[in-house]
């Protein structure tokens, strides 16, 4: 038993408290405090992941307050458990947090002047909430942490412009509905099993044979519905684009890669670890219906992304489509699909981070992220654009970025389960993303207006003033995080096997169909 696992959550929590207190004395201290506490948190999560990998049972556990687990049903107190999946997600959360916290220096000063204290307080609490979700082993504690993350998220979005505040309202309403459904579902779970510990619930379900119980069905539906709302699955996605697109730069950089992905993690955790494979997947209803919903979700989100004329908004719809990928990967129900889904959680967090960091720099430098103001950006800030488009290529799924490998596993999963509709949808959305990103490249690279008129004097003259076309790179505190994120996208792609190995160890504990040879 190691207490490092708690420090993943405690570092940002204490950082938040310290920010709020010391911020009254000097606002400038908040930024270094945030970066330092994120560093500590990343260190703790790396250590925890290593411990989990090295331990014979592949998990690290910590009992808050020293409550014992001896009783049956297991667990009186709250347990923090990091199995390989949880530790990986926690590392993703804290890593993204660290990169965004470094990035936040200028955008926070510019967009929320005078409110740094509040901003960094909320920022750090958000991280501790999200990391807590990945680590907790207690179903009710999970609810509380979801709400911690959600409330701070509302605050972080609403700190922006008035438009952002208006967008937050929908976010609050839908977020609360989602979380409440989850809470209700947990209520039914507790009603039937008498415990809130996730492993405990699983044990009780198995020993008492609760698989057929209608109350369990109700609980499952409620929890699933709640999580789907929270992760902005297609019909419930309305809150997401507005909130992310109008939020302050740093906020969207932090929330976009993490919030939806962490909710996918919750879904995987609930279906695999709590309800169990047989209960979740073998009832034909869900495995039949959800992949089709996923098809609708991906297609609609991709088409809506096509219709956008503004980068951040387009990216927001892309997130909705990616959520569809991951949900589909889980519900096509096989080994490869789940590997793809989990790997996509990790890689999508990295590439979305990359894209939003890039969009933030564009906004900072050009004062707009409209498609019309992008001409000549390659000449102006080549490094930023390289970072941004590595993220873009990863979303498209070009090797050797990590997006290729997650897509590879998802497609493979679709093939093993013979869900052709899912595969075709993946292909379709891939092509949409090709269009989206190469359209951006065209706009930045070519001297052609949208309706096809040649601008400039030919020979690579973009028709811009000298001022607009000279080399003007982003400040280092923004550029380095972006390039860091881009290189992580590439590194996870190159060393995907290391990550997939851990996922395979995690999934090895569950009895999942893998497909047969020679078809």
């Amino acid at each position: 038993m190691s207490d490092l696992i708690v420090w993943i959550v405690l570092f940002p929590l204490f950082g938040a408290v310290f920010c709020s207190l010391a911020g009254a004395w000097s606002r400038r201290i908040c930024y270094p405090v945030a970066v330092l506490s994120m560093l500590g948190s990343v260190w703790a999560s790396v250590e925890t992941l290593m411990q989990a990998i090295l331990s014979p049972v592949h998990e690290v556990s910590y009992l808050l307050g020293g409550w014992s687990l001896d009783l049956f049903p297991r667990g009186v107190g709250i347990e923090f458990r990091a199995d390989l999946l949880g530790a990986l997600i926690a590392l993703v959360v804290t890593g993204v947090g660290l990169i965004v916290s470094i990035y936040s220096k200028f955008p926070v000063q510019r967009e929320t002047p005078g409110k740094e204290t509040m901003y960094y307080g909320l920022f750090l609490l958000q991280i501790s909430g999200l990391a807590g979700i990945a680590l907790t082993g207690d179903a009710f504690n999970l609810y509380v942490l979801i709400e911690v993350a959600a409330l701070t998220g509302y605050g972080l979005v609403a700190l922006g412009s008035n438009r952002a505040a208006a967008a937050t309202f929908n976010y609050v309403i839908l977020g609360t509905i989602g979380a409440s459904f989850y809470l209700l579902g947990v209520g039914y779970l507790y009603l039937k099993t008498g415990t809130l510990n996730m492993v405990g619930i699983r044990e009780v379900i198995e020993t008492n044979g609760l698989l057929e119980s209608p109350a369990m069905q109700v609980s499952f539906v409620l929890i699933l519905l709640g999580i789907l709302i929270k992760m902005a699955f297609f019909p419930f996605h309305a809150w997401l684009p507005n909130a992310y697109c109008h939020a302050p730069t740093t906020t969207s950089c932090l929330l976009a890669p993490l919030v939806t992905k962490v909710m996918i993690y919750v879904m995987i955790r609930m279906t695999l670890s709590v309800f169990g494979v047989e209960f979740s997947f073998e009832s034909t209803l869900w495995t039949e219906v959800l992949p089709w919903l996923v098809v609708v979700a991906i297609v609609c989100a991709a088409v809506m992304a096509l219709a956008q004329r503004e980068i951040k908004r387009m990216l927001s719809y892309l997130i909705v489509a990616e959520v569809g990928y991951m949900v589909g990967g889980v519900w096509i129900y096989n080994y490869y699909g789940l590997i793809g889904s989990i790997f996509h959680v990790i890689s999508d967090a990295c590439m979305t981070l990359c894209l939003f960091l890039g969009a933030g720099i564009i906004l900072e430098k050009c004062k707009t992220t409209n498609f019309d103001g992008l001409r000549g950006l390659f000449a102006r800030m080549p490094l930023t654009m390289i970072g941004f488009f590595i993220g873009g290529f990863s979303i498209i799924g070009l090797p050797p970025t990590c997006g290729f490998f997650s897509k590879w596993y998802l497609i493979t999963g679709g093939m093993v389960s013979e869900r052709w509709e899912y595969m075709i949808t993946l292909m379709f959305s891939t092509m949409v993303m090709v269009v989206l990103f190469f359209r951006l490249i065209e706009r930045m690279h070519l001297a052609v207006s949208e309706d096809g008129k040649n601008l400039g004097a030919g020979h690579g003259d973009l028709g811009l003033s000298k001022e607009q076309s000279r080399f003007d790179e982003a400040p280092l505190s923004m550029l380095i995080p972006l390039l860091l994120a881009a290189s992580i996208v590439l590194l996870i792609g190159v060393y995907n096997q290391e990550v997939v190995d851990q996922i395979e160890v995690f999934l090895g504990a569950y009895n999942l169909p893998t497909g047969v040879s020679y078809k």
Binding site: F393, I396, M415, M431, V434, F438, V448, H459, G460, Q497
Partner: protein
Amino acid sequence: MSTPLIVEDIRPLLALVVPWLGMVGILWAGEKRPNLRECFTFAAASAQAAIVLSLVPLVLSGTIIEFHIWQIFSYVPMLLRVDGPGLLFACVASILWIATTLYSIGYMRGLHEHAQTRFYSFFALSLSATMGVAFSANLLTIYFFYEMLSVSTFPLVTHMQDREARTGGRTYLGYLLFTSLCLLLPALSWCYVWLDGGHLTMDFVEDVGKVGHFSETTQIVLLFLFTFGFAKAGLMPFHSWLPGAMVAPTPVSALLHAVAVVKVGVFCVYRVYADVFGSEVLANMGGEEWTMIVASATILVSSLIALSQDNLKRRLAFSTIGQLGYVVLGAAIATDRGQGGAVLHIAMHACGKITLFFCAGAIFVATGKKYVSELRGLGRKMPLTMGAFMVGALSVIGLPPLGGFISKWYLALGALDRDATWVVVVLLVSSLLNVFYLLPVAVTAFFRTSETEKDPSFKEAPWACVVPLSLTSLGCFVLFFWSEDLLRMVGLQP
């Protein structure tokens, strides 16, 4: 080559890395020091050619060179392997890169083109990707480099940055990425999952013919996905990207769209036919004739279209599509001589076609003329260029003593081995069509005098353009007379 010796050697990787280093140098030198920048390109090209050529004796002695880069999936490594066909392709591409570098200096400076640094950097990148395809040892590795080539050539195709470039670039990427992401990827993943229960390395040597375990329908579907998935091979109906990509500057059209990109496409198709399906499976699977039919149709139809093109580069582009059809046809014949002829044709056609493109570019640099109908009397003005054009055209048509003859000869022999006489007829008819659309260009230039320009003064393109095109036209002869080694490389002679 009964039991080839396998050697671990880093040189294949070096051939891939050298262009990257060259690119760093090119970017460092930048627009301000153009001479230094071109030095870097030259250095990278020469170093790459030297590395590749240094592998030739080893391969000729029956050794196979491997280099393991990293493990992509648990069972699939990123593995480079140098065998005869791959090395032949690599040699052609890297040697012609040197010629093209010299040519692009003349062309780009002659026309005062913009963004030359970008041009040379991405050029180097695409050559790295080409080497990667030539040396790949399994399907996934080849796919990686294939995609890298698609993306790294996009800035070259859209070099002019105007409306035409946009249209061309859209067609280019639209076709290539659609086919590779939507057709190829499922095929790869199908092989990965179902063969050996997910333990397949997709290796070109170890796993030849394992596709034969699939049901017949699956085999045909896979063949379909692979054949059209590698759309760089320009098989109809996925050929339109090639004429579209002709908006690029001529050196790009020359190297990438007569040598590197399109040849990567057909080389991949060859690999799939010869080393994934294997000639036995391919010949016996039943229902594989349609690939030969599609290839033949591509050859004939594109030749007919070429006849009607007035724009010289477009005419050459359609000619290329037809010639690519030969390679696919040869690979689909699934006999040793047919497939050997296919690989030979990659080299032979590359040398001939690059000469033709160089000539088209040289004419444009010297006179600004793009259309066949404008070329009257040009033979007296630019005798060297038009002479080289004649040689290139004859080689593409396939007359001895030029390289093109040998590959067509073996293609025909391969077809006869299989008793597919109709293929020989297709070859003959298409050669005739080649004569019809290539020779009139030279004839117009030499034997018809211009009505507008009465002054037949001698006005060649810059020497940096003329020297490479003369060299490549000589290369067509060289390939004929030194074909011994080439035949040994593709395994047609012991």
